[in-house]
């Protein structure tokens, strides 16, 4: 770890990853409690990617994300209370409750409008890169999307345009489809004849990298290299972060199959059992980072526990804030179609 990433960077990342994990666990609970309707998508299992990449971005950079956006918004620094309020459709939400879970975003932090249309965010993100090149010296557009987005033709068009025009775009493909998936259980998220998603970007002459998305150090190292390349004006870079799909995301509707994450697994105080022991032991990025930190530092266990307690508290407060927020007034529904 030391060469790759110092502890002073690792701990803040663990803090963010824990915040996201506890947020998503709370979202799942609120859905099962019927506090909001409609389909939703959790970032559990991918925290390392969003947190590592965001930790390297600058305020001037632009961000585009997808239906699986909760982690990106929190990693970038949005207020968990306003994010949760948006998911509950409340007036104090990031978008006054108009967008909901599929569309979380925060323009002050550089987010473009978040598209729930698969492939949508890649091409919008290329537009972000176009704007950066035209008006924001040295800025780049970071585009987070799933492997499934590469099934959509517009994504190919967008890769081609970004490459042709050498736009400063960092494409982050979060390939979470390497886990078990059975037909009928949910979306086929990798119905792709390609056995190498990077080869698609390569076919339009984009530089590519592939990294273990559960290893925050690996993501951080690759992303800093990619970002340097982007800022140098070389054009776009394609980074594939491969993760093992969290089992709770396999059903069409998320299920708390691994229960609330028990951080004692990381410190060895508790051994996971059952069918998901393997995922918890090897593929959970939060536990993995905590485990690494613990292995290098005797006092880590206590620090992890207190970080986790703080994260739980922040999320509890966020949920309280969101639930206490009023719904928007019906008559406001007709306003702001136009700016």
């Amino acid at each position: 770890m030391s060469q790759k990433l110092s502890a002073d960077l690792a701990w803040p990342m663990l803090e963010k990853m824990l915040l996201i994990r506890r947020f998503e666990e709370a979202v799942l609970q609120l859905s099962n409690d019927k506090q909001f309707v409609g389909h939703y998508h959790l970032y559990i299992g991918q925290e390392a990617t969003g947190v590592a990449v965001m930790s390297l971005l600058e305020p001037k950079d632009r961000i585009a994300t997808t239906h699986r956006n909760h982690g990106h918004v929190l990693a970038r620094g949005s207020d968990p209370g306003r994010a949760m309020a948006e998911i509950l459709g409340r007036a104090s939400g990031l978008y006054g409750g108009r967008g909901g879970t599929l569309h979380l975003g925060d323009p002050e932090l550089g987010f473009l409008s978040t598209s729930g249309i698969v492939g949508g965010c890649i091409s919008l993100g290329v537009g972000g890169g176009y704007a950066c090149r035209q008006h924001q010296e040295g800025a780049l557009s970071a585009v987070f999307f799933g492997d499934g987005a590469l099934e959509e033709g517009v994504s190919f068009e967008a890769l081609n345009i970004a490459s042709l025009w050498r736009l400063p775009v960092l494409f982050i493909c979060e390939n979470n489809s390497t886990g078990s998936w059975a037909p009928g259980q949910g979306y086929p998220t990798l119905v792709h004849a390609s056995s190498d998603l990077c080869s698609i970007a390569k076919s339009v002459n984009i530089a590519t990298m592939r990294v273990d998305g559960a290893d925050v150090f690996a993501v951080h190292a690759a992303a800093s290299e990619a970002i340097a390349l982007c800022r140098s004006g070389q054009g776009p870079v394609f980074l594939e972060a491969v993760t093992r799909r969290w089992p709770g995301n396999n059903p069409l509707w998320p299920e708390p199959v691994t229960g609330p994450t028990d951080m004692r697994i990381a410190t060895g105080e508790f051994a996971p059992g059952g069918e998901h022991a393997d995922w918890l032991s090897h593929h959970d990025p939060v536990l993995r980072l905590a485990r690494t930190l613990a292995s290098h530092d005797g006092g880590a266990a206590a620090r992890i526990a207190s970080l986790d307690a703080a994260a739980r508290q922040r999320i509890a407060d966020a949920v309280k804030f969101a639930l206490a927020s009023p719904f928007p007034a019906a008559e406001t529904a007709f306003a702001r179609v136009f700016a």
Binding site: F36, R98, G100, H103, P183, A330
Partner: protein, 326 residues
């Protein structure tokens, strides 16, 4: 009379169409979306697995595959998913599939069937609550059906598979769980025929899809107040059954048009225009349109309700046409 949910009847229609014609196949089988009824499709998947394939998330490619296959003589069904996903296949649907028969002087018909789940469904927000059928009505060459009941979705889906033309079947997400009477022997229903779902002499309410269910509820409420509303269920949006609409307005002299598409250039506008052109003398009061407001669909429940038609808004509109009695 036996009863079935809309979803059960839709699945029966797919099953029977696959069983009836070996040229039939399904490109996409998540026809029932994310709702509790989705498991009903398992029966079809098991029985016809060799004629069912789920495509990549590539709506344009999937639609074109179905269209091209239909040009080559087979009869594919392409499930487009949510009502906004056809936008990704728009060129294929309106500018390839719809025009081939005409442009080839009738030599290349396109017997493909599309299906989508349209409408405001609760939490779908701006990108997953669409009703694209009004836009599709502006594309010559498509047959478009918007059933409201189990019997109608069965009959119209069977007809769609039998039709030599590209047919778009739109199912409202909120209809899937709604039960209604079905005949012991469900039958194919000719495309292009509206049906009077409730008779009444005071005002004509023209609706389609889930709006027909809301209109029937509104008519029941109006009846309590002594107002007899006639509910004309279009069932087919293209071709449009102008005769049934005009005959009803001839009886009532008043017209409320209900549709969930946004107001401008929507199906409600078309119905109002047909009557303003061909039934002008029949009208005793201004036409009233009840549609989705001309705004994107918001996520928050109270906002979503505010922009969407409901039975109360329909009943109020009917009363307005009567209040305006000259």
């Amino acid at each position: 009379m036996p009863r079935q949910s809309y979803a059960e009847a839709l699945v029966d229609a797919l099953y029977d169409s696959l069983a009836a014609d070996p040229r039939v196949s399904l490109i996409g089988s998540y026809v029932l979306g994310l709702g509790p009824q989705r498991h009903l499709m398992e029966r079809v998947r098991k029985a016809f697995h060799d004629r069912i394939a789920d495509p990549p998330t590539a709506e344009a490619g999937a639609a074109a595959t179905g269209i091209g296959a239909a040009m080559a003589g087979v009869r594919p069904f392409v499930d487009l998913g949510t009502g906004s996903f056809p936008y990704l296949a728009w060129s294929q649907i309106v500018n390839e599939g719809a025009i081939s028969c005409y442009m080839s002087d009738g030599r290349i018909p396109v017997p493909v069937t599309f299906h989508l789940l349209h409408g405001v469904r609760g939490g779908g927000a701006a990108q997953h609550s669409h009703s694209p059928q009004s836009m599709l009505c502006n594309a010559p060459g498509l047959e478009i059906v918007a059933p409201a009941t189990a019997a109608d979705v069965y009959g119209l889906v069977r007809a769609a598979f039998q039709s030599p033309n590209p047919t778009v079947v739109v199912s409202h997400a909120k209809l899937l769980g709604i039960e209604s009477d079905v005949p012991a022997q469900k039958q194919s229903i000719p495309i292009g025929q509206a049906e009077i779902k409730r008779s009444g002499r005071d005002v004509t309410i023209v609706a389609n899809s889930f709006m027909t269910q809301l209109s029937l509820a509104a008519a029941a409420a109006l009846a309590e107040e002594g107002i007899e509303a006639e509910v004309v269920d279009l069932r087919s949006l293209a071709p449009l059954d102008e005769t049934t609409i005009l005959n009803s307005v001839a009886r009532t002299g008043r017209l409320v048009v209900v549709d969930e598409c946004p107001l401008r250039c929507g199906i409600a506008a078309e119905i109002a225009a047909v009557v303003a052109e061909h039934g002008f003398g029949l009208l005793q009061a201004p036409v009233v349109r009840v549609t989705r407001a001309q705004v994107p669909v918001p996520y928050s429940p109270p906002l979503e309700a505010a922009v969407t038609p409901d039975a109360a808004k329909i009943a109020a509109a009917a009363k307005r046409t009567l209040g305006a009695r000259a």
